[in-house]
């Protein structure tokens, strides 16, 4: 799983990524120095809970893919079986290309997870 994150880190515009269990534990991470793993994992865990809670009330959930776009960056969360892939991105990246790489990493992680079980 760490290898999948290191591969993703080579993509242009990817500032870092981590893999989070559904109860918020960090399984693996690959983050640029200025990014704090604890802060990102805390925010991601809360996002997963809060958004899924809202979607549940709308009878549409849990989410498979969430991307939060902001003025100076993006945060994407992808469900990969028992874990979530969390990726921090620069704002000015080509979304489609970046998403292809992220989806590819998510598939690898999902496959690794299903092999482990």
């Amino acid at each position: 799983m760490k290898e999948a994150l290191e591969q993703l880190a080579k993509e242009i515009g990817v500032k870092g990524s981590l893999i989070l269990t559904k109860d918020g534990m960090v399984v693996a991470s690959s983050l640029q120095k200025h990014l704090d793993e604890n802060v990102i994992s805390a925010i991601a865990s809360t996002a997963i809970r809060a958004i899924n809670d809202s979607l549940g009330k709308l009878q549409n959930g849990p989410f498979q893919f969430l991307v939060v776009n902001a003025e100076f960056g993006k945060l994407s969360l992808i469900e990969c079986g028992d874990v979530y892939l969390v990726v921090v991105l620069e704002k000015q990246i080509q979304s489609d290309l970046a998403m292809l790489s992220i989806q590819s990493a998510a598939r690898r992680i999902r496959n690794l997870g299903s092999m482990a079980s």
């Binding site: 120095k33 200025h34 802060v39 990102i40 925010i43 809360t46 996002a47 809060a50 958004i51 809202s54 979607l55 009330k57 709308l58 009878q59 549409n60 959930g61 849990p62 989410f63 498979q64 893919f65 969430l66 991307v67 939060v68 776009n69 902001a70 003025e71 100076f72 960056g73 993006k74 945060l75 921090v88 620069e90 704002k91 000015q92 979304s95 489609d96 998403m99």
Partner: protein
């Protein structure tokens, strides 16, 4: 090879003579391109500068000049990056950050470089200034209190390291004045005026602070002030007037709302493939308009869209990636799009997946629809 290069150089030199003897934007732009292609960037820029003086309105020449600059910077950037990789020195980082900030206008990249460099060289006042300037720009865009605090931290640090750092002190004083911390601003400006007694910006700010002395705040009120600025999404009148001293005039806020624009937008939105429901509300939750295939689901959707938007805005702030713009959420039964613009929230629910260009179009139209608020 040397002979060929020498001939090529002579050809270009005679071309240059001819181009300036009988100048035209096309001929000069062509000459600049040829110098760039032959990697004589100093010559390319020299010709470009002279050409732009003769034809200041020629878009071709301006584009050629900018291209030559970019290519020249590219070489310099590579050289600095090599230096950083092999034996990182403060001057490499400072030069690289400065190129991105000033020459290439890529403030995000400059910020990234400066942040990385400060971990190795925490006493580099120039790098603190770059971080401070980027944070100040972000504060003026999104009015997030964290950006203000970070900007002040960097400018303060820069001026502590180097008491002669004029830009740091001017920016620090300006920021304090903009949020009403007049006493703090005056203290900074008094120090600044020991370096340089004449600064029209400082004189103007001091005049405004004197005129509005009663509106000054103490540092103990900073949290309250910043919360207010963040909630409103703009500085108060005096703060805006201080900002105007440094920047060109901006669009006025609080123009008359155009409800018709919203209705048209929502009607168009209902034609989106897989459309189920949409709502536009203020940040406080007052509904401005809505459309749904099944009206009975609207109330719940509105409440949850508000909740999700508040969460996303909070997450963006805590992640320090600036103000929240939009979120796309894909779930088994469809996609939810949440967006913030001009004090309004859009919630859109569709069955299925939305393509990225569809999402972009919806967001742009939403921003246009609420642009009069």
């Amino acid at each position: 090879m040397a002979l060929f290069e020498s001939k090529k150089k002579k050809d270009l030199q005679s071309q240059e003579k001819e181009a300036f003897a009988n100048p035209s934007p096309k001929a000069l732009a062509n000459l600049i391109s040829q110098y760039v292609a032959s990697q004589d960037l100093d010559k390319a820029l020299d010709v470009a500068k002279r050409a732009v003086v003769i034809y200041p309105d020629s878009e071709d020449l301006i584009a050629s000049y900018q291209n030559a600059k970019r290519v020249q910077m590219g070489t310099r950037i590579m050289s600095l990056q090599k230096g950083i990789q092999s034996h990182p020195e403060r001057k490499h980082y400072e030069a690289l950050a400065s190129i991105y900030y000033t020459d290439l206008n890529n403030h995000s990249k400059a910020f990234e470089i400066a942040q990385e460099a400060l971990e190795k060289f925490p006493d580099a006042d120039g790098l603190h200034v770059i971080c401070g300037l980027v944070r100040m720009e972000r504060f003026h865009k999104e009015f997030l209190s964290n950006d203000f605090r970070e900007a002040v931290h960097h400018f303060q640090r820069a001026s502590d390291i180097n008491p002669m750092n004029y830009r740091a002190m001017l920016s620090l004083g300006r920021l304090n004045a903009e949020v009403g911390l007049f006493d703090e601003a005056r203290r900074v400006f008094d120090r600044l005026q020991q370096i340089s007694q004449i600064d029209e910006h400082v004189d103007k700010i001091k005049a405004l602070m004197s005129e509005h002395a009663a509106e000054g705040r103490g540092t103990d009120q900073l949290d309250e002030v910043l919360n207010g600025v963040e909630l409103n999404g703009y500085l108060d009148t005096v703060g805006e007037r201080i900002r105007d001293i440094f920047e060109p005039p901006r669009e006025p806020t609080g123009r008359t709302a155009n409800v018709g624009e919203l209705e048209t937008f929502l009607k168009d939105l209902s034609a989106t493939h897989g459309f189920e429901r949409a709502v536009i509300m203020t940040l406080g939750g007052s509904v401005r308009g809505s459309q749904a295939n099944d009206e009975s689901t609207l109330e719940l959707f509105t409440a949850e869209a508000k909740a999700m938007s508040e969460f996303c805005a909070d997450a963006s702030r805590r992640m320090d990636i600036g103000g929240f713009t939009y979120a796309e959420i894909q779930a088994p039964h469809g996609t939810t799009l949440i967006s913030h613009a001009r004090g309004h929230v859009l919630g859109l629910g569709v069955s299925g997946v939305m393509k990225s260009d569809e999402v972009s179009k919806v967001i742009q139209k939403f921003i246009a629809a609420v642009s009069y608020f």
